[in-house]
Symmetry: C2
Subunit: 405 residues, 2 copies
């Protein structure tokens, strides 16, 4: 199978590319390197240093003997994505090429608009390019479990049977996202479902929970490592806790800490995604997948990191900070999963088992974490992103209209 | 009350401005005149000639003695909308400033992207501008019943009580829109609900069915008339049938003609909207309103126009054309309404009563209709917009990336 990974330079894009290569598939990919720049924009960097794409391509050749065809470009440029698809004619296209941070989207108007434009228009361009040049390819789109929010009922896998006033229908599960970023993913899901309906495209919309971890089994070489973000804007909760523990900072759950999400390790994430790629849905249909391994509250995670850190002699403290988000701090949470189990997927990693691995991996880069400690502590310092505010102190981008003038 | 009408030059914006002025409110408004240009783009014009905005403002002064403050501008320009709101400090803002045609959004990629960008980014700018300069104003946003699609259950008014696996919650009613345009409205609805949640804005999201009619009771003068579109891209079904009947062309229902929608007259639409403006929801809440007067299938409407036209000696034929849309041609359709009835709203016009009025009004402009008959007949001529095709013969806009280059 020939696989195109859009956003191949990212935390997930790179390990998935490696996995598909390791499994003998032909892989090509694109990236605009936006995440590298945007992490710098908030005064941070990847905890684990990563090589340039040129070096990555060489490392793939050296370790796997495989040719990875990379092209730099942006999905907001239709001519770029359509010509890349036309040249490569992939069997599957994985779309990670989105602004992926909820806090980043909440910084101010310009970041909110950037997120909408990058994600929604990028996906529109991709859908039209597929329709024109690869109508039979399988689109695997990375969404998020955050699209569903935290309803007081079980979360179905995309669609559910509804009975209302004595009549029944199978309908899309209601979405209640919690940030401009999460809403942009809802808009994408909706637009993709419509393209499938009118043009007969084939798509898998993966709603994944937060991913944690420093490695996959394919990273047999230091040059094959993936990025690892830990600042308040780009890092996700468990990864950030591990960095806080290693950097000698208190763990900072938001508010009461009862916020519960479905977590999955980087290793299990790429395993699940490769299964989905190797088992596409029926041609012309839309498949929705809820992808996670275990549900945990953020306070549970903090306690687990403290326990593992203390056992390593790190003397970890937990110091809750006011919740900058607008979200339920205690709630019901049960997310249904049918597709991945039906393909035989069984998670191989647990949060508890992986935390010591992460802590050990991060200890090697302790100096890099401490150097950027200001970026870790934004939430506690009142300089961070706050959902209730429209302008924040983190960074200020020029507005679209200012750019035009 | 001081009311700001965004999209004040449009089919609905202008009559609502007149109604609010007639009811003694202070009115200001903005428009970028995009609809005037885009109707020309598809080779058509308003059946009823309309004066320039300068003349409109003078006519308002002459007839009502009122000052209407108009400013030309575009919601995609944040500086424009934020400074206009800051200057005017309105109590209510009505947002009609969107690309409002489903076929226009389906012409090709550039029109689809324009629709997403104009509607979604315009609304984001408006929400941020309100948050900054008018956080207590009431936003009345024009949505569409088309956001819901045609589910096999009753359509609730925005939210509904769901029981799933033994648990209950009140959730947003699932959306299943039928064009890029309709999806852009869903994205707007979602974004507005989120702004209400995180910032405490106050909003009414009006899901309205297709509007028909040539006049409201406030149009006491020819210079106060509103535009009336009839081409396949910009005209809605009943208005187009009336034009076809007057122009001596067959009425052209799509496919089987069982597509059922909730219709409302222009007069009743502005009456309902003024009621909603004069009775805003509780501060900091989101109110969803389903707004229509009667459910009719498009074949029923064709038969009613034929009957009225024949009685006027027009000898009307009905000639179904293949459905260019991807939609159910026969389906269940029952849309719930609670808000407007609770405010005492009762429709004063029916389709059957209004068709003869429309036919008589349009007879005066028969020459204008015949001159643009090519724009009416696109669907029959194979040159029209087709949901299954990505490129069409109607018009071709440059792509964003071509514009940049």
């Amino acid at each position: 199978m020939k696989v195109m990974v859009l956003g191949i330079d990212g935390y997930l894009g790179w390990p998935l590319a490696l996995r598909m290569i390791a499994r003998g598939h032909e892989v090509c990919g694109a990236d605009n390197f936006y995440t590298r720049k945007a992490v710098e924009e908030v005064g941070s960097w990847s905890a684990i240093p990563i090589p340039s794409m040129e070096e990555r391509v060489k490392a793939v050749k050296r370790v796997f003997g495989a040719d990875l065809h990379f092209k730099e470009g942006d999905l907001r440029d239709y001519n770029f994505i359509s010509s890349f698809i036309e040249e490569e004619r992939p069997d599957a296209i994985i779309d990670f090429a989105e602004q992926r941070s909820a806090p980043y989207s909440q910084i101010d108007l310009s970041h909110a608009v950037f997120t909408m434009e990058n994600n929604v228009i990028g996906t529109m361009n991709l859908l039209y390019a597929m329709k024109e040049s690869a109508p039979n390819a399988h689109l695997l789109k990375m969404g998020t479990l955050g699209e569903y929010g935290t309803p007081n009922i079980d979360i179905a896998e995309g669609y559910f049977e509804v009975e209302y006033h004595g009549r029944k229908d199978r309908l899309p599960f209601p979405r209640q996202a919690g940030s401009w970023y999460h809403w942009s993913k809802v808009h994408d899901s909706n637009n993709i479902s419509f393209a499938v309906k009118i043009w007969g495209l084939t798509a898998t919309d993966v709603h994944q929970g937060p991913v944690y971890g420093t490695r996959t089994e394919d990273m047999k070489d230091d040059e094959l490592r993936t990025r690892f973000d830990f600042d308040e804007v780009w890092g996700t909760v468990l990864n950030r806790y591990c960095v806080e523990a290693v950097a000698g900072l208190p763990l900072t759950p938001y508010g009461e800490g009862g916020q519960t999400r479905g977590f999955i390790s980087l290793e299990d994430s790429v395993t699940a995604l490769s299964l989905l790629l190797e088992h596409p849905p029926e041609q012309g249909t839309m498949r929705v997948v809820n992808q996670y391994a275990e549900s945990r509250s953020v306070m549970e995670l903090a306690n687990m990191v403290k326990k593992a850190g203390d056992e390593m002699g790190l003397n970890v403290q937990i110091k809750p900070v006011p919740d900058p988000r607008v979200e339920a701090q205690r709630h019901y949470y049960n997310v249904e999963r049918y597709v991945l189990p039906s393909l035989g997927f069984k998670p191989s990693h647990t949060v508890e088992g992986e935390i010591p691995v992460m802590l050990r991996d991060l200890m090697k880069y302790r100096d890099r974490l401490i150097e950027k400690r200001d970026a870790i502590l934004l939430a506690g310092s009142n300089a961070g992103v706050n959902w209730r505010q429209t302008s924040n102190k983190v960074v200020k981008k020029p507005l679209r209209s200012e750019l035009k003038a």
